[in-house]
């Protein structure tokens, strides 16, 4: 009982519980839920989302937002496709360059925000439109299909119900945790998010931390884009177009503060998985596909509400 209570007091505990109970309920509802393949499909649908959520979360941590996460992802995806198909670069080189492009896009956002004092909302709203513009200009809205077969196979690979695509998230999550909780730059980044003025008075440069957060965000969006290409088997220009919702929903449901300085890595992960579970359930119980979007939004509100309720009650208890 005490263990359960402890679990519920953490940001991610409630979500983990919802994920578990929801899964159990789904299993009762439908025999096809607990098949190895369905679990794999569900987890695989969350792999890109987890990284997208992380990309937003790191910017939320410093007290800003990044509306260009999806647009940057789309740009990285088509450039990655072009590098493989048109330039015929070896796969590891293309992946490294793709991540670097992501970091560069993030740096662009960060330097503009820190340097001009224009809010990150406007900067990333505008830069997002620019990224999408470059994406469309290069791809002419057509996907690049020349993706190496072994990379596409990686996108489909699984070990029992564990998709290979989940590995990058499972590696990134602890790295992020070490960065934010055990390394000085990470602590400074969170400090700036918590109270930028106080951090500055302590001799920490808020601008540098803002740039760092955006650069990491860009890198993570790039990684998410590369995985999305593996998942879809083609570098489609539409990649990233639907990331905005999940990018905020993941960290916020997971317990991050929109005011900055507070995030939960496990919370964001479980939040994305809960959303993946919900989407999966909607398919299983055959909700009219036209209403999936609505149902998802309503469920997001419910989840955030429940989590808020949990947080206030945990604080009181």
């Amino acid at each position: 009982m005490i263990a359960l209570r402890r679990l519920l007091e953490t940001e991610w505990g409630g979500l983990a519980l919802i994920f578990g109970l929801g899964g159990g309920a789904a299993g009762l509802l439908s025999a096809s839920f607990f098949t190895e393949f369905n679990i794999y499909v569900m987890l695989r649908s969350g792999c890109v989302g987890i990284l997208v959520a992380f990309a937003q979360m790191i910017v939320l941590a410093v007290g800003q937002m990044n509306l260009a996460v999806g647009a940057l992802g789309g740009l990285v995806a088509v450039l990655f496709g072009a590098m493989l198909e048109v330039l015929d670069l070896p796969l590891p080189v293309a992946i490294a360059l793709a991540l670097l492009i992501g970091v560069a896009g993030g740096l662009f956002n960060g330097v503009l925000t820190a340097g001009t004092g224009i809010g990150s909302f406007i900067v990333t709203l505008a830069s997002g439109s620019m990224f999408t513009g470059i994406n469309v200009g290069i791809s002419q809205s057509k996907p690049f299909h020349g993706i190496p077969a072994e990379f596409v196979a990686f996108g489909d690979a699984r070990w029992s119900f564990m998709p290979a695509l989940l590995w990058p998230s499972l590696i990134v999550a602890p790295l992020l945790a070490i960065f934010l909780y055990r390394l000085t730059p990470g602590r400074r980044l969170l400090a700036v998010g918590g109270n930028a003025h106080a951090a500055e008075l302590s001799g920490i440069s808020p601008g540098a931390m803002v740039i760092l957060a955006h650069a990491i965000s860009g890198g993570l969006a790039g990684l998410a884009a590369v995985l999305a290409v593996a998942q879809l088997g083609a570098a489609q220009p539409e990649i990233g177009a639907t990331w905005l919702l999940i990018s905020f929903a993941g960290p916020i449901i997971g317990g991050a503060s929109l005011n900055g300085g507070r995030i939960s890595i496990l919370g964001a992960m479980f939040a994305v998985l809960v959303i993946a579970l919900i989407e999966n359930l909607l398919v299983i119980v055959m909700v009219d596909p036209y209403w999936v979007q609505f149902t998802l939004g309503a469920l997001l509100l419910t989840t955030v509400g429940l989590n808020q309720w949990r947080a206030t009650h945990a604080a009181r208890a």
């Binding site: 070490i178 390394l183 602590r187 106080a198 008075l201 302590s202 001799g203």
Partner: protein, 459 residues
């Protein structure tokens, strides 16, 4: 380290905050800087610590002119400070806040054990009761202030500036602080102490400088040659006046507000209180005693969980401040005027008229600027608020005038009962006297009953 301020001037939007100020803070001395609100003390502190840059003049450290681009440069030069407003990182531990910009590491990783050890070393001197591992968000204001002081002390700075450091800490904490400062100053640290508690200043400084309206009116005076009346007259430019208030009027009015064995969600138990019509009732307590929370429970911000609240003969439950105002005619002037009392980015006009918008709106629910102006103007005159125009942004007013605006807003609402939470907090002596007279006048002439909350003075 000797810190020398040489003919420094600073303007903020046409207001001369500092006007050719020259002072010298010698190594090994505790130097108090006093002055009314708006005299320029905090601006001077912010220039020395690199937050602001002077328009003209120079800051010299041991004779060498320096020009700081950011607080970081000042810290690197050995200047530490505790600023007036609280500057802690929420959700970070006490220890991490103290060592924020120089976290100890082992193999590149942040070493939390070392943080706790080093932070508690410093904090234990001031208050061993604070756990360095707890989250600062859960701390009281007094503890937060001690944490910031510990942070400044741990810098091993060669010059330390404190902007009103004892504002909310207990007498015990203040005494511990003074002891540490004495030790540091005998080790050659220059200590600058900004305070408006004159008794405190007289007791433990070596020298004092007085600022008035951005100018230095007394510079580097040895404390032995100072007295409280002399300091006051230097600060305000004339003798201190005592508020002309009569003592408790003879007529006892009807009961306006009565609490019987009230318990609140904040943890108050068994509170009995009777406020009569046209009287000013003072509620006194030290920091953390729960005065503010008590007032908030009455107006429905917090919850009253048991007991009885009777407003003018009727037993009531107040759910929120809107109900308190609209139904029970109780107003609450918050002690935190910047965050809760005023809309800083709006003009004087709308700040005052805000509580009566519903009442003065025309038949189509349209607000008329002239009506607003009439209401606002009458209170500006009555409270003698100094403004350049009705549309002057409230954020550009001095602390005293801001406080008057936040009171005017509630007077406009014509409440029967007004709860004033620390109405004179952060206000200079002259305005304080004016406010006390105003409060007295309100009770007598305007038939308002007042519950005034005051925090205990430490000096």
């Amino acid at each position: 380290m000797k810190v020398c301020i040489d003919s420094v001037s600073k303007m903020f939007q046409n207001v001369r905050a500092l006007d050719v100020v020259s002072v010298e803070f010698a190594a090994g001395e505790i130097h108090s800087l006093v002055g009314e609100n708006g005299a320029g003390k905090s601006t001077l502190v912010r220039i020395i610590t690199g937050v602001h840059r002077p328009d003209s003049g120079v800051v010299k450290l041991d004779g060498n002119p320096v020009r700081f681009g950011s607080p970081r440069d000042a810290l690197a030069a050995g200047i530490g400070a505790v600023h007036q407003e609280r500057n802690l990182i929420p959700h970070f531990s006490v220890g991490e806040n103290i060592l924020l910009e120089r976290l100890p590491t082992g193999n590149g990783f942040v070493d939390y054990k070392a943080i706790d050890a080093r932070a508690s070393e410093m904090l234990d001197i001031l208050d061993p009761g604070i756990d360095v591992r707890s989250d600062v968000s859960s701390m009281s204001v007094a503890h937060m202030q001690l944490i910031e002081i510990a942070k400044a002390l741990s810098l091993n700075a060669r010059a330390l500036l404190f902007d009103e450091p004892t504002d909310s800490i207990t007498k015990h904490g203040a005494a511990a602080l003074v002891k540490v400062l004495r030790r540091l100053s005998s080790a050659g640290v220059a200590i600058v102490f900004v305070s408006h508690k004159l008794d405190e200043v007289l007791v433990f400084s070596d020298r004092v400088s007085v600022l008035r309206g951005g100018r230095v009116v007394a510079s580097n005076e040895p404390i032995a040659e100072m007295s409280r009346p002399r300091l006051v007259s230097l600060m305000i430019g004339r003798e201190e006046r005592i508020a002309q208030i009569g003592h408790g009027c003879g007529v006892i009015g009807d009961v306006a507000l009565e609490l019987t064995s009230v318990a609140t969600s904040y943890g108050h138990r068994g509170i009995d209180l009777t406020l009569r019509k046209t009287e000013v009732l003072g509620l006194y307590g030290l920091v953390g005693a729960g005065r503010t929370e008590h007032a908030r429970a009455i107006v429905g911000v917090g919850k009253i969980i048991s007991g009885e609240v009777v407003v003018r003969g009727r037993r009531v439950t107040v759910h929120n401040p809107y109900e308190a105002l609209a139904r029970h005619r109780i107003g609450y002037v918050s002690e935190d005027r910047k965050d809760e009392g005023l809309i800083l980015s709006h003009g004087v006009r709308s700040n005052i008229a805000m509580t009566v918008w519903r009442a003065i709106a025309s038949m189509f629910k349209l607000l008329n600027r002239t009506t607003e102006a009439t209401v606002a103007n009458s209170y500006v005159r009555k409270l003698a608020i100094r403004i350049s125009s009705l549309d002057q942004m409230v954020s550009t007013l001095s602390g005293g005038n801001q406080q008057k605006v936040s009171i005017a807003k509630w007077l406009a609402a014509a409440t029967d009962t007004l709860i004033l939470d620390e109405p004179t907090v952060g206000i200079d002596i002259k305005t304080k006297v004016e406010l006390h007279e105003l409060i007295d006048e309100l009770a007598r002439q305007d038939q308002t009953d007042l519950l005034q909350l005051e925090r205990g003075c430490l000096a």
